[in-house]
């Protein structure tokens, strides 16, 4: 093989290796086992997880207030009649609600 061709091959292989290294970076393929023990890697690394619901191995009473606030009623709730001499009430902004739901 000529020196020129050999040089060309080396150059191409180097380029391929650089390309592979570029795309491998951040692709999260660094998880591996050593002596049967998982030592890290993956999308998030080897961080400890474990769902908090199971911290005391289930079951307990739920807190009263959980989940989204109830949807606003469609027809507005009837307001009490205005007093004859209205008292100044600071303007109140409506409480933000969750994004609307939609049925497919």
């Amino acid at each position: 093989m000529s020196a020129r061709a050999s040089s060309g091959i080396r150059f191409a292989l180097l380029g391929l290796a650089m390309l592979a290294a570029f795309f491998a970076k951040g692709c999260a393929t660094d998880g591996y086992y050593t002596d049967g023990y998982y030592t890290g890697g993956g999308m998030y690394g080897n961080a400890y997880y474990g769902d908090f619901w199971y911290w005391n191995d289930c079951c307990y009473r739920h807190p009263g207030g959980m989940g989204p606030p109830p949807a606003r009623p469609s027809p507005p709730i009837a307001r009490p009649p205005r007093p004859m001499n209205p008292v100044a009430i600071p303007p109140s902004r409506p409480m933000p609600m969750p994004r609307p739901s939609v049925r497919r």
Binding site: M1, F23, G50, H62, P63, P68, P100, S101
Partner: protein
């Protein structure tokens, strides 16, 4: 002889070029699968935009969530830990990946909820400055953006994602998508303050809701999450995402039949029976909720 050598060299070069092309194609395929289908350059800080299940039994989880929510799963070529994207009705819910059991066989299955941020590194600095912990340092993943995982100052685990493709539009939520989240905290007011500084939330206090005083975190004009005290018997704070369903009891039945556990049954005191908490067979916990918007027949934005 020289011509034969040149032909051999050309053949090898073509092979190398083809391999490089395949590698590039593979990387591009990966690039379009690991994050939300967003609007480039558009972020909705404070909105939770991606949900990943860390589980030691992805096969059981796929079967369970497919039966309960109709989710579909697409393995990502070349991704580590068997990373699988969860899809529903043409959109993406999040992902799932293999996470081994901890020492002593401890179950470490967990849903991770990722909040949209513009800058994950800045978020990490904020978390550290407020007494939280960086579990996974900001990490760029092609086609996804930069994510990081933290413990808040009370220990609740959550993530952030600066999606390189932007966040999905802030439109109506459909059945099978994550609709709501609750943070269970020892000190809800203090926790709300921490997250307000991170997600730019407006913290609202509502005294009139069933169950008493409730804090909600709002951004972009929408309530995104609630903050409640710890359930009785739970010593560790955490985030709970809720999936929208059209029939909570039906979903609970499907979960039970698919081998899941019902941690909180639907009951009158909880959103009139429209809320429950379930666990998949591996221990991943999700809330389910039926929440009908009254903003219009199509659920238009308020």
């Amino acid at each position: 002889m020289k011509m034969a050598s040149q032909r051999s060299t050309e053949k090898m070069m073509r092979g190398v070029a083809m391999a490089a092309g395949l590698l590039l194609t593979g990387a591009m395929a990966l690039a379009s699968t690991l994050g939300p289908d967003g609007e480039r350059g558009v972020h909705h800080p404070g909105r939770f935009v991606w949900f990943d299940l860390a589980t030691d039994d992805p096969a059981s989880a796929r079967s369970f969530y497919g039966k309960v929510f109709g989710w579909r799963f697409r393995a990502v070529e070349g991704a580590s830990d068997g990373y699988t994207v969860i899809e529903h009705a043409g959109g993406k819910v999040g992902g799932m990946f293999f996470h081994p059991r901890g020492p002593g066989g401890k179950n470490e299955t967990q849903w991770l909820s990722l909040m949209s941020v513009r800058d994950s590194a800045q978020a990490a600095r904020y978390v550290k400055s407020k007494g939280g912990e960086v579990i996974v340092a900001p990490k760029g993943v092609p086609g996804r953006g930069t994510h990081a995982v933290f413990r808040d100052p009370e220990g609740a685990i959550f993530g952030v994602l600066a999606a390189e493709g932007g966040d999905a539009p802030d439109g109506p939520v459909a059945d099978g998508d994550v609709f709501w989240l609750d943070l269970f905290a020892r000190d809800p007011a203090k926790a709300a303050e921490f997250y307000a500084g991170l997600g730019g939330y407006e913290v609202n206090v509502n005294e009139d809701l069933p169950g008493g005083r409730r804090l909600t975190l709002a951004s972009g004009g929408f309530a995104r999450a609630g903050v409640a005290g710890l359930p009785e018997g739970v010593s560790r704070p955490g985030w709970l995402p809720y999936v929208l369903v059209d029939d909570v009891r039906g979903a609970v039945d499907r979960a039970r039949k698919a081998g899941g556990r019902i941690l909180v049954e639907p009951q009158a005191g909880l959103l009139d029976g429209n809320l429950a908490v379930i666990s998949d067979p591996g221990g991943g916990v999700l809330g389910i909720v039926n929440w009908v918007s009254n903003e219009g027949p199509s659920g238009g934005k308020p």
